[in-house]
């Protein structure tokens, strides 16, 4: 093989590599902009009932800012000062954000086990409760991406929750199970993914 042909082949390989890289970036970008859906699924085995709700996040994102009812105006929920009770939530969030992955709260006793932790950019809450005396413990798992929590508290006022921004952030975050509550007879799940069905 002549040196000229070798150079040409190398150039071709470089062009192919760049094309492959661009194609990968385009694929990732397309996947990122795909519609996300919020799913709520309630299964009540005891009563033989089930509820499924599938909501395109884009719909929630567009509708919420137009609702003006009660404490919700323009996608922002106002909490009464009494409910905040002097707690500086933004300062707490700042502390959590800057902290390394860790378990912040652990409460364990005979009947219950509560853990609050930060893990892989998520705020994670686990609760196990056997106090009801039932065979199967009640399990509550909440996983919220910190970006969503940040968006929720992104308004200038301390007593406001920016729900519209949180939904936008949820759409940008990956697929995740937000809430799972399970006991002997019922199972409630709230999650976000790119599928329009809850199957």
């Amino acid at each position: 093989m002549s040196p000229k042909t070798k150079i040409m082949l190398k150039n071709l390989q470089a062009v192919a590599a760049v094309c492959l890289l661009l194609a990968s970036i385009a694929t990732v970008a397309a996947a990122g902009s795909a519609e996300k859906y919020l799913h709520v699924k309630v299964d009540d085995q005891q009563n033989g009932e089930s509820v499924n709700v599938n909501l395109p996040l884009s719909l929630a994102e567009k509708v919420l800012p137009t609702v003006s009812k009660g404490n919700l105006h323009a996608g922002v929920v106002t909490i009464s000062d009494a409910d905040i009770d002097g707690v500086d939530i933004k300062a707490i969030l700042d502390a959590v954000r800057s902290a390394a992955d860790n378990e912040f709260v652990t409460v364990k006793d005979k009947d219950s086990d509560v853990r609050v932790a930060k893990s892989n950019g998520n705020l994670v809450i686990h609760v196990r409760d056997t106090s009801s005396g039932k065979e199967k413990a009640q399990k509550v798992d909440v996983t919220v991406p910190l970006k969503v929590v940040d968006a929720l508290f992104s308004t200038a006022k301390k007593n406001e929750l920016n729900v519209a921004a949180a939904i936008r952030a949820l759409g940008e975050a990956g697929e995740t199970i937000l809430v799972s509550v399970e006991d002997a007879s019922q199972h409630v799940r709230i999650w976000v993914d790119s599928r329009s069905t809850s199957e």
């Binding site: 519609e35 859906y37 009563n47 033989g48 009932e49 089930s50 509820v51 499924n52 709700v53 599938n54 909501l55 395109p56 884009s58 719909l59 567009k62 509708v63 137009t66 609702v67 003006s68 009812k69 329009s196 069905t197 809850s198």
Partner: protein
């Protein structure tokens, strides 16, 4: 004879065009099947284009009252309809009990409600465009509230 044929063709073409125009907005379908011993079956397919005409025939007073009641929710309804029109066909909500099943879905540009209960099976399908235009007509039925000076 040829003239008669031409007239018949013209009438048929007009009828087809008329039906096509009437159905261009889609069809509203209501289908109710009772499960009682006296079995009743109600099936009403109506062109969605008739909905605005029907709105014109509704009593003005009641329409104005409904308009005022719906006004606070209009921006939310408009936004929801716009988004629903663009989103893919999907089940929006489904409730399943031992003896009933209710499903709200978006299918082919329509909002579909299916209910299967002990007493009856109900199917209602309404094109989103028809709902939007009916809502706009309802909104226009009452004058907008005067803004404070």
């Amino acid at each position: 004879m040829i003239l008669l044929g031409k007239i018949a063709l013209g009438v048929a073409a007009t009828a087809v065009a008329g039906v096509g125009l009437l159905c261009s907005e889609g069809m509203i379908v209501v289908n109710v099947v009772e499960k009682q011993p006296e079995h009743h079956h109600i099936y009403v397919p109506a062109p969605a284009m008739l909905l605005p005409i029907a709105m014109h025939l509704a009593p003005k007073g009641e329409l104005a009252q409904a308009s005022q009641e719906i006004r606070p929710y209009l921006p939310a309804i408009r936004a929801a309809m716009d988004q629903l029109r663009d989103c893919e066909d999907m089940t929006l909500a489904e409730v399943r009990g031992r003896e009933e099943h209710v499903l709200v879905a978006k299918r082919g540009g329509s909002i579909v409600v299916d209910a299967d209960t002990e007493d009856a099976t109900v199917h209602v399908s309404t094109p989103i465009r028809a709902v939007s235009s009916a809502i706009e007509q309802l909104a226009a039925a009452a004058p907008p509230p005067e803004s404070a000076p």
